[in-house]
Subunit: 316 residues, 2 copies
């Protein structure tokens, strides 16, 4: 249903990562085509259509949103030093940090060119502010890493900035170009923010393997970086003295070996910290769905509703 | 004369690097207040005033231009691994690569928020395109590093993108907000581009100590990174067999020791390559001044004219 629009978004993404410097599309397509789920541009497209928008600006804005996301992924690789991203080597391990920084900058600039194409100054305002907030959230997270005293509120503030800001902007801009009343813009802003929070909470639970008994690959990145995500916050809330000593040690002193990671997972499960994190994710996803209540029921509002379901279900 | 406006630009810069995450203004002010020469925002301010512009948008755009420049400096530190920048340790050696990447992203996003404040979609178009071209030029330079066969044309293309694009955009946006005819916009675009080329050529000569007999600090960065700048292109054009072998070796195989750098400087001087580079800089600066001929003679056009003189004079 959203397929035609999403094909147009993909085509525009492919076109706008072009450059006379061949290395740029080569590296950009490595990360863009790895593709991920295109959740953020889907929000923009589906929300615009839900509102009856009949123009073309939503395609450019959806592509811009994905470019901002891709640029932050490239720069995150330098920050996180992860070994795998979506099962592939991160771009900076293939091409080096300088190339990842610069191609990220290129995509970021191209995102703003796409926004100019949308001709909406209000959309530009919302998305440029989101881009600044994302960077603030990432720096905040860096500063908080290794700090066992990170509170649940502070953690929510961090993921609200680094993840939910782009989700909410992606939703909000659709009502801006469709020229809808403030009430609908607010509802979509809420939908996006709550969906983004749910998405990140699920990611944080999956980084400890989620509820599945087998620990797949791609787990333990947060642990190895000393990030205090909600699973750890909840485990600390319920910790006895020995567990508190364990967390204090492993969060402050990295790297830790695989056996210690397995021990962390065991404690998280014993304390119900992964269930607790996923329960929080479900609550936020529900708030996202509730925010859609003011809109007409149509295939597009249903798609947005299902997206909120999907975001949580991928954890199970 | 430009002092009032430039104070307003500085105040706006200080305000807009603010963030609830204290590390951001701390790191941003380290690089912004190191300050440099504020040449790019001065172009925007003086050109707007020269054209009789009486609004305020030139202040926001000038600050945006400086933020783009500052963001690229932060990211260049990661690319170049320089030991000193303007006589200080680069920010990434004080705070680390992740912080430099993310604060650069923050400043980049804030630059676009400032452009939104200017309310000019055409200025946004010009500056977002310039930001993309800068990144392309930087990647092009990375790809060309170590390649002795880099031609003069390719070198000019690289510096046209990585340096001159922002100078020309800084000049061009002033005529956009002042709503001047295309002919004046083109003249300012030429002024900025030629000034930017002159600026970079002087920088490249200074990286080999310029014409001064004493080699100061901060020289040799390009050499150590295997960058084929115009001094090297000209030295290669005039090289005998032994010199060609020398350049082929030192450009391809880095790092080289200080004695080898001194030898490179000796050859550059013997072959007149630094004079040749500065002669090219003078020619571009003259073209920048010529482009001002269509404008009324006033204190602002004189300031722009003097700026073109200053940019070359700092080499002597």
């Amino acid at each position: 249903m959203a397929e035609g629009d999403m094909r147009a978004v993909d085509a525009l993404i492919g076109e706008r990562m072009g450059s006379p410097v061949p290395l740029i599309p080569e590296l950009a397509s490595y990360i863009v085509e790895a593709g991920g789920k295109r959740i953020r541009p889907l929000i923009t497209v589906a929300a615009a259509r839900m509102l009856g928008y009949e123009g073309n600006a939503h395609i450019a804005l959806a592509a811009a949103v994905e470019f901002i996301h891709t640029a932050t992924l490239l720069h995150d690789d330098i920050v996180d030093e992860s070994d795998l991203r979506r099962g592939k080597l991160p771009a900076n391990q293939v091409w080096g940090n300088p190339h990842s920084v610069l191609v990220g900058d290129f995509l970021f600039a191209r995102a703003f060119m796409l926004m100019v194409d949308s001709k909406s100054m209000d959309a530009l305002h919302v998305l440029s502010r989101a881009a600044a907030v994302i960077a603030e959230g990432e720096v905040h997270q860096l500063v908080a890493a290794g700090k066992i005293e990170t509170s649940r509120d502070e953690y929510m503030e961090i993921i609200g900035a680094k993840t939910a800001a782009l989700f909410s902007a992606a939703a909000q801009v659709s009502s801006i170009i469709a020229d809808r009343p403030q009430r609908e813009e607010d509802a979509l802003e809420t939908y996006g923010r709550e969906l983004g929070l749910a998405f990140q909470l699920v990611d944080d639970a999956l980084d400890y393997g989620g509820l599945a008994s087998d620990l797949g690959k791609n787990t333990g990145d947060d642990f190895r970086e000393g990030k205090v995500t909600l699973p750890v916050v909840l485990a600390l809330d319920a910790a006895d003295e020995a567990e508190r000593a364990f967390w204090t040690r492993v969060i402050r002193e990295q790297p830790q070996d695989d056996a210690t990671f397995d021990e962390a997972v065991t404690i998280l499960k014993r304390r119900g910290a992964l269930e607790g994190t996923l329960a929080a994710a479900r609550a936020h996803a529900q708030r996202a769905r509730d925010a859609l209540a003011i809109f007409e029921d149509n295939p597009w509002s249903q798609a947005l509703d299902q997206l909120a379901e999907f975001v949580v279900e991928r954890a199970y």
